[in-house]
Symmetry: C2
Subunit: 199 residues, 2 copies
DNA sequence: GCGTACATAACAAACGTTAGGTACGTACTA
DNA sequence: TAGTACGTACCTAACGTTTGTTATGTACGC
């Protein structure tokens, strides 16, 4: 006995509203009432689709991850260092959507550090991100555009570099323009080139 | 007409309590009542020394910065890349205090991104950090242990790398042990050595 | 008639802030 | 030297909001 409304679609509407609230006010400003108001509805609707605020948060973070993945361009035909460069650039706040995602991401860390369950989810998310970068680094190493050594260390370093830039850019977008961010990433990757390697 | 109690000392006591609350519960868990309970006192005491919660937060962030500075070892007799290495290592969560500071720091970003005043303060704090690193980078460039180019770019990249490691380490301290964090920093600095440069 | 989809509304808890009250040391006056 | 006025240091208690959660009600398609 299915109802007329598309449950999954409506749930996505709620998620979208959650996303808009997060982008505007961060996790500290995420309340059921704010989400409801964003939809022009009441808290009853929100609780109807999400049993608790925690569930709302968890789902919002899953949304953030999938949004991030959507920004990564198709790497068809692109290989080695260039594929890695594109994968890292996709994380930088080079577009309004990218900025929005990163703002949500960074602001989630307060809650994620305080709540054990969110902490574990964030830890796993980081690990997934690194394992997506891993094969790209290995490929760049084999063609000589990245130095040898434990690829996991290189991945961690590149993830760190990228996310560190993200944070600085969020707080000072004027000093870290889109152009400069891209240039910083390029220069950095080039600087890592093994000694003797040429373009 | 000074009172018997040392106002400044008592204020520091309150700040210390704020700090302990932040380290344990993050900014999301920072409430006047939690601070008061941490001191075994009431909210009346807290408001007596800080006019508002905002003032409490601002002071806590100033505290975080000065704590960070205290961890930086004296660079007497140390120069060039080694001084830079020490300055960056001081920011890493290599000790319980370092972990505590970084936990507070990272968790402050949610509030700092949402509130314009805190945003400006955080932006300025980042700028101050970079300008403290700047002369060290220049020195390392002149002695050839860092490649030429705009030192500001190198500073931003190194700050990014370090803070990015901090975040990953906070979420996965087992995967990012003290030993590995130090090694990652060392390897990274060495990888940046200009082509042809030797130890 | 029954389950889904909401709105309405109330709940207790926790929040920042504010006001009033008490205790006590210092400073001034007689 | 005694007495009084005053400012500081807090506690107690309440204020009005806002929070997440929950119970109840209503409309409506199957």
């Amino acid at each position: 006995m299915p109802a007329k409304t598309d449950h999954e679609a409506r749930r996505r509407d709620v998620s979208a509203a959650v996303w808009r609230v997060l982008a505007a006010a961060g996790f500290g400003g995420l309340t059921l009432r704010a989400v409801a108001a964003e939809m022009g509805a009441t808290t009853g609707l929100v609780t109807h689709y999400f049993p608790s605020k925690k569930a709302l948060i968890v789902h919002a973070l899953e949304l953030a991850e999938s949004h991030t993945r959507e920004l990564v361009p198709a790497t068809d035909g692109v290989h080695g260092l260039e594929a890695l460069r594109q994968a890292l650039a996709a994380v930088l706040p080079l577009s309004p959507e990218g900025t929005e995602i990163n703002r949500v991401w960074v602001s989630s860390w307060d809650a994620a550090l305080a709540d054990p369950e969110l902490h574990a989810l964030e830890k796993a998310r980081y690990k997934r991100w690194r394992s997506r970068l891993h094969p790209l680094v290995v490929e760049a190493q084999t063609d000589g555009s990245l130095p040898p050594g434990d690829p996991a260390d290189l991945v961690a370093g590149l993830a760190a570099f990228t996310h560190g830039l993200v944070v600085q850019a969020l707080f000072d977008p004027r000093a870290f323009s889109h152009k400069r961010l891209a240039a910083l990433l390029d220069t950095h990757l080039d600087a890592l080139r093994p000694t003797g390697s040429v373009q």
